[in-house]
């Protein structure tokens, strides 16, 4: 589904990704772990197409198409969802308006009919319930005045509504307490653990992976994948630390 081949990327002339190669197939949940500064968030932003993140070498194919040739909104319409580590506040724009316009823009790009207001509200309610987020929060402005945990849950409500084929989730677990972590993890499982979908789950810690069991775990260090294994690799990391596990690589 997602093939990353020898990806090099830099920000303001500083090289962050140095030949990253990775592929994720449908039905897989691939966790990316790594120390601070390894390039985890850069990978997420490059896949999302954030301005300022310059790809200098390499290719990325998403469902057979050249992902890097698409604008950010085209990537979303193609089925890619980027879950932000720090969801952005947008004063003056309500969640409901934002998400309905986003969903209908994606549908229009795919040649599908717009969803009516009534159907959209029903869908939004269902996903808010799944993530235990008060529907009233969705009537408020996007992320404005939300706590860290509410922002992350709102992020997953967005994912549920937009129903992507593939999700890149950048530290969706940061800022969550134990209970919220379980709610968010269950949400990811409910929305994305399907045979025709894929997930790239970027995280610092093993605890989210106890709820969202990965099919693969890769370690990212200095801008490249240094080791790939099964779910047990995350447990080794938690027990022994990055240095020890990477030394074995």
């Amino acid at each position: 589904m997602l093939q990353i081949d020898n990806l090099h990327a830099e920000i303001d002339g500083t090289k962050i990704l140095n030949g990253l190669t990775l592929s994720v197939n449908a039905g897989e949940i691939h966790a990316i772990m790594g120390p601070n500064g390894a390039g985890k968030s850069t990978l997420a932003y490059v896949l999302g197409g954030r301005p300022g993140y310059e790809v200098t070498e390499g290719k990325v194919f998403f469902r057979g198409e050249d992902l890097l040739a698409m604008d950010p909104h085209e990537r979303a319409a193609a089925g890619l969802f980027l879950g932000f580590q720090y969801p952005v506040e947008i004063p003056g724009v309500s969640n409901i308006q934002f998400l309905r316009e986003a969903l209908n823009a994606q549908r229009a790009a795919r040649g599908e009919e717009a969803m009516t207001g009534g159907d959209f509200l029903k869908l939004a309610k269902e996903k808010a319930r799944l993530l235990k987020l008060d529907m009233e929060m969705l009537k408020r402005n996007v992320n404005v005045g939300f706590s860290g945990g509410e922002k992350k849950r709102a992020e997953m409500v967005q994912m549920g509504i937009l129903d992507p084929q593939f999700a890149v989730l950048d530290e969706t677990d940061s800022g969550l307490d134990i209970d919220a972590l379980r709610v968010v993890g269950d949400g990811i499982n409910a929305i994305m653990r399907q045979s025709d979908k894929g997930v790239l789950l970027i995280t610092h810690y093993q605890r989210l992976l106890e709820v969202v069991q990965p099919t693969h775990v890769s370690i990212l260090s200095k801008g490249r994948i240094v080791r790939t294994g099964g779910a047990e690799l995350a447990t080794d990391l938690e027990r022994e630390g990055y240095d020890a596990v990477m030394a074995e690589a």
Partner: protein, 253 residues
């Protein structure tokens, strides 16, 4: 006396950032004419002014007198003319309130401006002015707000808020608060900021599938929405926002 002497010049504080060349050929007496409004004691008045004709000088000049405990609410869109200009002079008696929600929009070589003067002449009157300016191309937006509080006008509360949004390099906004306060127990808050569309918000919205045009529309709508928020009359509030959004649609083509 020649006519030219009577025309305003940039040396006049209220014309400091104006497009003086756009006044050429305008009869000087234009600048002595006013639309007068008087709001009687305890009464309420509200109006929506839209300046959106295309060419030359498009100017409205209002002189509003508020009697005791009267309330006036003005919603204004200045989005027309090579020079579009709204001048408002308000005289406030005891306990009166004046509310302004103003929006200026414009690109090309246009200048769109709102110039106000609040004369707080009696105690306990309040005024609140919120102006939002969105400009592109080589467009200029100006808000010049003068507040006079006489010695006797204690407990005056006069507030001004201005924000400019520049959609393209080359556009500019100017804001000059001018406070002349002779009473000691007053509140006069004013604030001004200028910025561009938030880069991180734009990427966040794009990552959810919104094309650039829609993103701009939503963010600009949110920005100018500020100017309508304090208007008490819902119909006026909606009409102002709708007119402004129509104007912005024309820009997008």
């Amino acid at each position: 006396m020649t006519e030219a002497i009577l025309l305003p010049t940039r040396k006049d504080e209220a014309w400091r950032y104006s497009d003086i060349d756009a006044l050429e050929g305008t009869p000087p007496e234009t600048f002595e004419a006013w639309e007068d409004v008087r709001v009687a004691e305890g009464e309420t008045w509200s109006d929506l002014i839209v300046i959106d004709d295309a060419d030359g000088l498009q100017m409205r000049r209002l002189r509003i007198v508020l009697e005791k405990n009267a309330r006036a609410e003005l919603a204004a869109l200045v989005a027309g003319g090579r020079l579009g200009r709204l001048e408002v002079v308000v005289t406030l008696a005891e306990g009166a309130h004046f509310e302004l929600g103003g929006i200026t929009l414009g690109g090309g070589d246009t200048t769109r401006e709102i110039v106000t003067r609040m004369a707080h002449e009696k105690p306990g009157a309040t005024s609140n002015q919120t102006v939002r300016s969105v400009h592109w191309g080589k467009g200029t937006g100006n808000f010049l707000g003068r507040i006079d509080v006489v010695r006797d006008a204690q407990k005056t509360d006069a507030a001004q808020s201005f924000k400019g949004l520049l959609l393209e390099k080359g556009a500019s906004v100017n804001s000059v608060p001018q406070l002349e306060i002779y009473a000691d127990d007053v509140q006069c808050a004013h604030g001004a900021t200028v910025g561009q569309l938030d880069e991180s918000a734009r990427f966040y919205m794009a990552a959810r599938g919104l094309p650039p045009k829609t993103i701009r529309r939503l963010l600009v709508q949110a920005f100018i929405g500020d100017a309508t928020r304090e208007l008490a009359d819902e119909a006026t509030r909606e009409a102002l926002l709708e007119k402004a959004l129509d104007k912005l649609e024309e820009r997008e083509g």
